[in-house]
Amino acid sequence: MRILCVAEKPSQAKAVAQILSQGSLSTREGQSRYNKNFDFQYRISGHFVSVTMTSVSGHLTEVDFPATCRSWHSCNPVALFTSPVVRAVTENGKDIAKSIERESRSATHLYIWTDCDREGEGIGGEIASVSRSANPRIIVKRAHFSSVLPQEIHTAMQNPRDLDMRLVAAVEARTELDLRIGSALTRFQTLRLSSRFASLHDKLISYGPCQFPTLGFVVDQFLRVESFVPEPFWYIYLEHTKDDGRAVFTWKRSKLFDQEAVFALYAKCMAAPMARVTSMRSRPKEKWRPLPLTTVDLQKCCSRYLRLAPDLIMSIAEGLYNQGFISYPRTETDQFDTNMDLKGIVTKLIQYAPFSAYANGLVNEEGFKWPRKGNNNDKAHPPIHPVAPANNLSGNPLRVYEFVTRRFLACCSDNAKGQATEIEVQVTDEQFSASGLMVLKRNYLDIYPFDRWSESSVPVYRQGESFEPSVLEMRTGTTTVPKLLTDSDLIDIMDKNGIGTDATHADHIKKIIDREYIYRSPDKFLAPSTLGIGLIEGYDAMGLELSLSKPHLRCEMERELKRICDGAKTKDDVVRESVNLYKAVYVKSVEEVAKLEESLGRCLQQAPDTGSAIWTPSSGNGAGGTE
């Protein structure tokens, strides 16, 4: 028996090999310079077997169109929806593939050690097919792990599963759809618009089924801000000063946007301006500790509190994972499995100097509490948590690691406890309330400074007591213009609308910044460029029920991809349905391109060029594909 293990990246291969070989491995060059082979012996069921650990560098193969359609001017873009596609090894992957073929010939088993998410499974499928082409009888297995910890790695090695072909199918479906839809629309948009507007002459105006809805959110919020009309509102203000303090009461109706209405209610109060205490309650109040950490939350919090861009956060988190400091950073799960030894992890964190005292308190002074359970479980990975103390970090990696650790320790702490006093008061028929808070035990707040709980005092009242208000008047305010989106807001919106997965949110944001559709202002707000606004308004003007700029199309597609993973639908069905849908949308967009051009013209403040150089879909060189 001889096992060939393949990891997703060279660094991971090395780390895993180090653990499995317990330090005694020998390195060997492979066909590819960056992907070395590590040989060692491993003990399985009593006897030793030879193992070679190697790696790929991400996707090994890619889909593309055949030569007849590959060049931009070779065919009418609509043909791309129905043209056949070919899957072939990437240019960079050729050497890696050769290496794998070579190693596979002398192996009996292939263990896939790629990241345990959908994309990783897809890459695993590619590795398996390359391997089988050299050795059709090789047995393919899949190692499942969530962190690069010795115990987990050994367990994974000794209990391999089967490759989940449904996930592989979902990834194949997604890459094919992204290729077809992205290419057809990118070619159409770029060729057409660059031939019509001088300032867009050499620009790539790409379309991606996730990028555009993301851009759409930024533009929608921008337009909301621009068209905002401030509105005045009125409310009744009640205040009472006693010997032991001052109470400011809030009107139960909060505020009304009609002066006559508030005045009428105020007049009713003034007819008999005595306040009667209808209830006075003092009761314990808790501020809940946070939920276990998911990827979306990691990005939102780190971008908001640490002011880092989402793509940077993810690359730092990956680095921390590969170094063995935190668990796999791409997860939707916000509940810890009851089998996990969380107390053990907290004990390990006593070694981490800055939080040593706090961690000690949790373990040795009965402060430890099992974390709250959220509603989500992707069944693949636990919530993000620290796995080892990291005493030699600095800069941004240190900040991210500290955030993850603080969050974890806060999850394992008790809620903050306080005592709240709530007073309800009535003047004629109008109701008001006031409240005070005393924080008795800070608990998790001591380790998690990102949540605030402020104290306020309120005087003592008796139920049934009546008093004359010190101040009872009508006051006014005005609504404030909403703000542009921050990274944190945008990730939240993408998540809620089903655009992208936890692994890809940051990538989509980066992409639309690279394409100059949006930009990040110095104070971290996201604003669209005139090109971005022009595109979105143009597509919206086409009045498409399933507009390319709204999230519905992509959200539906993500749902369908999920159905493939659950085995509820086949890849062919999903691809066929999605292709038909997007093709219809594409055809409509071509028909109504004038609206897109008009909108861009308005936003860029240029008139579209006229003349013979205008590109139309049929100006391609003929052959290739059916309409």
């Binding site: 509105e231 505020k255 002066q259 209405a261 009428a264 003034m270 009872l472 305010g477 404030t480 308005r602």
Partner: protein, 328 residues
């Protein structure tokens, strides 16, 4: 065939409406012609029961313009022209001239109405955008924490969002054909909604009128929606009314052509003006005697009183822009 006197008396007893003779005559004649046509077709001759007559006339009544069909019934104070009291049982028969959600900003209502329309007409589910917070920038009001996900149901956070119109407190402007009266929903009344058709007919019973303001307090039992949707008001959907009040239709593109620094300046300038006005008001009401505020309120109410007389659709917009002007 139509017993004018009998129908008139029954309608008065049932709905409180005092029909104008001329309108009733036209209506009755029209119905008689229709019936005659049917009778000939049916080939028989039967007297129509009074109940049916009442029903046929009432159907016409709810779709009519109230100033055409009814005599005014509101009783007002001689001096202020504010409503004094509502007629006793069965109540006052009035027409809904406007329905405004006063607990929510018009902008938020417009967005909600637009999303609902998009969903109903084009099947586009509303996307999750960040919640608008109607907060006071100067911080003198209590800042309500944005509900965010706390207020949302599980269905909303994990699945599809429903297109809903926010519902806090409605203010109706009702008319008897000659005079207007404002009515406030002081406790939630299920049968009312911001989407009530303009021109619908209602019967208001025993509502308390707030001293010195002429505003009626509506409680659960005090208003009955009879129905009707006169075609002359059909264009005034919730969305259209909000867009008009906000002046949205021409605004968007005018704004879009300004460059961003100009827009920033505009926003800052508007904010400064509002701040200084608020500071002035705050200084004026430093000595919070009831008198001072009553005076202010009195001037406000006469302004409102004046506007009650005009019957145009621009009413709300005028009041709003005047208020905004005052604030500027």
């Amino acid at each position: 065939m139509i017993d004018r006197a009998g129908v008139s008396a029954t309608i008065k007893k049932r709905y409180g409406a005092v029909l104008r003779a001329q309108w009733l005559e036209q209506c009755a004649t029209h119905i008689e012609n229709e019936l005659r046509g049917h009778k000939e077709a049916a080939g028989g001759g039967k007297l129509v029961h009074l109940e049916t007559q009442v029903r046929l006339v009432a159907e016409q009544l709810v779709h009519s313009e109230i100033s055409d069909s009814c005599h005014p019934t509101l009783v007002v104070e001689a001096g202020t022209q504010l409503a004094k009291r509502l007629p006793e049982h069965p109540g006052a028969f009035l027409q809904v001239q406007s329905v405004v959600e006063v607990g929510v900003s018009k902008y938020a209502m417009w967005e909600a109405a637009r999303e609902k329309e998009d969903f109903e007409q084009r099947g586009i589910r509303p996307s999750y955008l960040p919640q608008l917070t109607d907060e006071d920038e100067s911080g003198s009001g209590e800042v309500s924490s944005t509900a965010g996900t706390q207020g949302q149901t599980l269905a909303e956070t994990s699945g599809d969002r429903q297109a809903k119109i926010p519902r806090k407190m409605l203010k109706l402007v009702l008319t008897d054909g000659q005079r207007r009266v404002s009515a406030l929903e002081v406790e939630p009344i299920v049968r009312l909604s911001a989407e009530l058709a303009i021109g619908s007919k209602v019967v208001v019973t025993g509502g308390q009128i707030i001293e010195g303001t002429g505003v009626v307090c509506l409680r659960a039992g005090s208003i009955r929606v009879v129905g009707g949707a006169p075609t002359q008001y059909a264009q005034q959907t919730l969305r259209a009314r909000m867009a008009e009040l906000l002046g949205l239709n021409d605004r968007r593109h005018a704004y879009a052509t300004l460059d961003s620094s100009e827009k920033q300046k505009k926003i800052l300038a508007a904010k400064k003006k509002l701040k200084s006005f608020q500071a002035k008001r705050a200084a004026a009401s430093e000595a919070p005697t009831a008198n001072a505020t009553e005076e202010e309120a009195a001037t406000a109410s006469t302004a409102e009183g004046e506007s009650s007389e005009t019957v145009t659709k621009e009413d709300e917009a005028d009041v709003l822009s005047r208020e905004l002007e005052q604030l500027k």
